[in-house]
């Protein structure tokens, strides 16, 4: 199945499939961020593949300047009972990634969470607010440069 998916993706997108690997039977495909929506739409609507459930969407901080942040899409196909993982990376200075809320509505909260935790801005998102942290919080907690102990003064405390 993984081979067939990869074949179809290569056929459709050619050089836009930057990388692919298989680990423990799970296929991971890396695409450039400006082709993410297109790829997702294809994977969802293709009559053979039908990845109709966006199981999960999350961010990752690779902590390397060339591809600092990544967005990971874990897709599931109810028809084939199969999973695939899509990944895209963005550079340190450019945090914009297009939203996939137009493809799966469930991406809405997942993208809000990713924005909250990593500061990745999903362009075109209908309601990009913080999910867990207070709106006035200035930091992004899951970034690798955010210390585990927190940053003193980042949350208002009662006065002495």
């Amino acid at each position: 199945m993984n081979q067939r998916i990869l074949e179809k993706l290569r056929q459709q997108f050619g050089s836009a499939i930057l990388e692919s690997n298989e680990f423990r039977g799970e296929l991971t495909v890396v695409v450039p961020k400006d082709r993410v929506v297109e790829t997702c739409r294809f994977l969802k609507s293709d009559s053979e593949l039908r990845f109709d459930l966006l199981a999960d969407l999350c961010g990752i901080d690779m902590y390397t300047p060339a591809k600092r942040y990544g967005v990971i899409y874990n897709l599931y196909s109810l028809k084939n009972k199969h999973r695939i993982r899509l990944k895209t990376f963005t550079e340190e200075g450019d945090l914009k990634v297009p939203t996939v809320t137009g493809v799966w509505a469930t991406a809405n909260w997942h993208e809000r969470e990713t924005y909250d935790m990593f500061g990745i801005i999903f362009t075109g998102h209908p309601d990009l607010r913080r999910m867990y942290m207070p709106e006035e919080f200035e930091h992004y907690p899951l970034r690798k440069d955010f210390p585990l102990m927190g940053i003193p003064g980042s949350l208002p405390l009662p006065k002495k």
């Binding site: 423990r24 999960d56 999350c58 874990n74």
Partner: protein, 418 residues
Amino acid sequence: METTLHDIPRKTKILQALEDQNTSVQFDDPLESDMILNMGPQHPATHGVLRLLVRLDGETVMDCVPELGYLHRGYEKLAENCTYHEFIPHTDRLDYLSPLSNNTAYVMAVEKLAGIEAPPRAQYLRVIISELARVSSHLLWLGTQAMDVGALTVFMWSFREREKLYDIFENLTGARFTTSYARIGGLANDMTPEVAQMIWTYIKEFPANLLECEKLLNTNRIFVERTDGIGIISAEEALDLGVTGPNLRACGVEHDLRRANPYLVYDKMDFDVPVFEGGDTLARYYQRMEEMKESMKILRQAMEQLPKGEIHAGKPKDVLPRKQQVYTKMEELIHDFMLINFGVSTPTGEIYHAVEAPKGELGFYIYSNGEACPWRMKIRSPSFVNLQALPLMLKGAMISDVVAIIGSIDPVMGEADK
């Protein structure tokens, strides 16, 4: 006294005005006819610290905005800073109504990453504890759902049944609530004959007791009318919103990870995946009731087929040895020291492993760069995703139905907020 005397002429004036047929009262509403109602986070019917901002037109819900994060403890950040073993107790606190299935889901994800396979007995025991956790989670849901619409007896009866399960958990794992029972490559300890006997008794007694609860509700006109036709969601909308578990199956989509992608020994079990049409609160009630019966079927088979043997995988460099051996044997002491201090050795790679938890698809995404701690761990919690469907379900409902609809989604804020 003085004031009442003072009020008499005013009262008579109002009464006079009311008696007058031509009187009509007009007032300008500064908020128009809409009202914003804040429910929670400290609200007894929101099942935890869920906060809802509801826009009402009279008694009808126009729109609602759920606010999450009141129980956010940053478990994903913590996971990056502790070894794979150290994270097991944290999984208890995600969905705290079914800690056993969280333990199992997490260790299975790590095992997939590290390439360890638990021995058959451990796999069967994991199926048993996952199903016990499902029944205990559904029982709590049953009690609170009935209570949300005003039926108190069912709450007492379902908690009585749940109490028996907690006695089993206590004997099996040593804790009632925060079990931390699964270990990477096995389980903390083996099931004693006493616990097996308790489970057998439970399997025998539970169906009749569940039937009693059903009798109270199935033909209860108040319960049926309070839940029928409210909080409707269609199959397409549910899939689009990523809803999983009983909530999705109550919309008529036959999707159960135990059947679709069998893990552990679910492929050897003979059980049905119940599906209901309608996608309303009543359908979700029937759905969970049927799921408990199917769980009992699985439990019976797993107990019958339970093989004898080891509960730890034979990989001493990755699997924690038994405490007794650590105290008496040199080799085991060294392995224990290395595992506690430096953790399980994992290869570089990434995996996503999902199981069918009581609330839906519980998945762990782990990105490892070969160290003892994950570089990134994402918890895909079913409650978080299921709650996203709440505004859609609430649209057009009455204010008194809001609590019934929240209850029917069965959210647990521990895992929704992580």
